[in-house]
């Protein structure tokens, strides 16, 4: 059996909006194996944000089972879910979401510090990661002094620094011009080439096309699961 980092079995997620039950995901079966680069594609309302929350250990399913890096999230309490998230997931958000009033290195150190590493270790690892991404001379710049592309690389460094099982990118090109956006996609491809598991959430078919596997969502269900270059 191959190494499954994500396993969704008959996953259902209902939300209560007012007194109305809305079904965001209506029964999803999905397996992602280690080292895959998967795009989860769909228009807004298709359930892709809910997929991100479930895979990202930010949320638990209403029914069915979600296993991330071998651990089932169903039974975990908030603290345990946070620990799993901290270990297994590296987030790359739309609009970078760098922390305010903090420098590049402080952003990258934060996940390590939350894992309980001491400041010295965290600083060493963060410096190494930023240097790898070509930001060795920008360590103490705060976000106002970084360009869009640089900010995105800081965000990626922050996602990678804990060596997570999955890099989860949520519309990472959404706020960028097409050239910078393309550079970010190249970065994700590089990560994939290095053997990392990358899950890309997007509504953009063109962006999705850069992934070797594409899972199309519509109305909370998987419409089709494509493999191979397009």
């Amino acid at each position: 059996m191959a190494d499954e980092v994500v396993r969704l079995d008959k996953v259902r997620r209902d939300y209560l909006v007012g007194d109305q039950v809305t079904t965001a995901l209506g029964g999803i079966d999905l397996v992602i194996e280690r080292g895959e680069f998967v795009a989860i594609v769909g228009p807004s309302g298709s359930g892709k944000s809910t997929m991100m929350n479930l895979i990202g250990c930010l949320d638990r399913p209403t029914a069915g089972s979600v296993k991330i890096a071998g651990d089932s999230t169903n039974e975990l309490n908030d603290n345990q879910l946070t620990s799993l998230r901290s270990k297994a997931i590296g987030f790359v958000f739309q609009q970078f979401q760098l922390l305010p009033n903090t420098t590049a290195i402080e952003n990258v150190m934060a996940p390590l510090l939350y894992q309980g590493k001491n400041t010295k270790e965290a600083k060493r690892d963060a410096t190494q990661m930023l240097t790898q991404l070509g930001l060795g001379d920008r360590l103490n710049f705060d976000r106002n002094r970084l360009s869009g592309g640089q900010q995105q690389r800081v965000a990626i460094a922050r996602a990678l620094v804990t060596s997570p099982d999955i890099v989860l990118a949520d519309e990472p090109t959404g706020a960028l011009d097409s050239k910078t956006g393309a550079a970010v996609i190249e970065l994700l491809k590089d990560l994939h080439r290095d053997g990392r598991t990358v899950v890309l959430i997007t509504h953009d078919l063109e962006i999705a096309a850069s992934a070797p596997r594409r899972v199309f969502l519509r109305d909370g269900l998987i419409e089709r699961d494509e493999r191979g270059a397009k």
């Binding site: 603290n79 998230r85 934060a110 510090l113 400041t119 922050r158």
Partner: protein, 388 residues
């Protein structure tokens, strides 16, 4: 995340929003400064009162007769013979008239025994106290209190001249400078033997004053004096109508409790402003939690536990409050210093005031920081991330 790292986050945030942080602290600054300054005023005032009471003698017991024939000189002699009594004197007093030339006014005539001046040591303005020769049987000397002297318009030239007390001639030997004391105005002092001839019947006295060797002996002495007098007059434990015994130390204690109450009242008022300051901090922290909902979401996503978020916001509130407390303490002590200069009392930085000010501001930070911090910690990460 280690506590130190969390504290650094909180400090960064406070530094990044300097003006807002300063304004937020202001309530606590004012509250703490008020507490410190008011405490020092109360301290200064009670220092002053105690000083003037202490000049009356803290070792002193006054036994005052409730009726003209309640106490006698024999009582006084027996009281003087008690253990640990250093000085005893008696007084016999009555209303009377004093006159010079064609001017005549009412005054309180006080007959005192020889030890009076030695024990009380009133300030003298002119001339001298009643000397031992004044207490000789034939001498008719008088010392005027400041108010009595003013009432008659006495001048320095009149020292040694004759004044009339209840129509009898007396020689003026001195004028006291006793305006600062209380209860001594409009008085003239004569030897007790002279008083016997003027108004008072032997052997009765209006009051007996005894002094203990040390302040610690006063309470015991008071008990002994009471027992002695009860035995002499065959009084039951319940009856006290014949005399009252007052104790300077208990007077000082009474004043102390009044100033303590006053202090509590003023501190209470200042504490209210501290609470208002705390509410200000809570308000700003709640606004801050709302503004930073996204940040909280991102922090949760990259691995912050609820406890990390709680600690971050709680430390921020505590630092704001504590910093306000430190600034308030400094301002309060500066104010206290100038008040001490103006009010002419001794300025000192009291450790308990420092502790109280810092302790209270810490408490305010914790109490008013908990709710916003809990609100922040309880945010659902997915809601926080989606928050616009």
């Amino acid at each position: 995340m280690k506590l130190l790292g969390t504290a650094t986050l909180a400090l960064n945030r406070i530094w990044a929003t300097k003006i807002r942080s300063l304004l937020t602290m202001l309530g606590v600054v004012i509250g703490v400064a008020a507490i410190v300054a008011l405490t020092s005023i109360v301290d200064g005032a009670s220092q002053g009162i105690n000083k003037s009471l202490a000049t009356l003698g803290t070792n002193q017991l006054n036994i005052t007769a409730m009726a003209a024939d309640s106490l006698t000189e024999q009582d006084a002699q027996e009281l003087a013979a008690l253990e640990n009594v250093s000085v005893m004197f008696v007084q016999a007093q009555n209303q009377g008239t004093i006159a010079t030339g064609d001017k005549r006014v009412n005054a309180r005539l006080v007959g005192v025994s020889a030890k009076y001046f030695e024990a009380v040591k009133p300030e003298i303005a002119l001339g001298s106290y009643l000397s031992s020769s004044s207490f000789a049987a034939t001498a008719k000397d008088v010392v005027f209190g400041a108010d009595a002297a003013n009432d008659l318009g006495l001048t320095k030239a009149m020292l040694g001249q004759t004044v009339k007390l209840n129509g009898q001639d007396f020689r003026l030997v001195g004028v006291l400078d006793d305006q600062a004391g209380f209860g001594t105005s409009g008085r003239v002092y004569v030897p007790i033997d002279s008083a016997r001839k003027l108004f008072s019947q032997y052997p009765y006295v209006s009051s007996i004053v005894i002094q203990a060797n040390t302040a610690e002996q006063v309470d015991t002495l008071q008990l002994q004096a009471d027992v002695l007098l009860r035995e002499r007059y065959g009084l039951g434990a319940e009856t006290t109508a014949r005399y009252t015994i007052t104790n300077q130390a208990s007077l000082i204690a009474a004043v102390g409790s009044i100033t303590a109450t006053l202090g509590l009242l003023l501190t209470g008022i200042a504490a209210i402003s501290l609470i208002v300051g705390g509410i200000g901090i809570m308000n700003i922290m709640l606004v801050s939690v709302r503004e930073r909902t996204r940040e909280i979401g991102v922090r949760r996503a990259i691995g912050a536990k609820q406890s990390n978020i709680l600690t971050q916001f709680l430390i921020e509130a505590i630092v704001l409050s504590l910093a306000g407390g430190v600034v308030g303490l400094i301002l309060g002590e500066i104010a206290a210093f100038f008040l001490a200069v103006i009010g002419d009392w001794v300025f000192s930085i009291r450790l308990d005031t420092v502790g109280l000010a810092l302790g209270f501001s810490l408490l305010v930070g914790v109490v008013f920081g908990v709710w916003p911090a809990r609100t922040a910690a309880k945010l659902e990460p997915i809601d926080a991330l989606r928050f616009e």
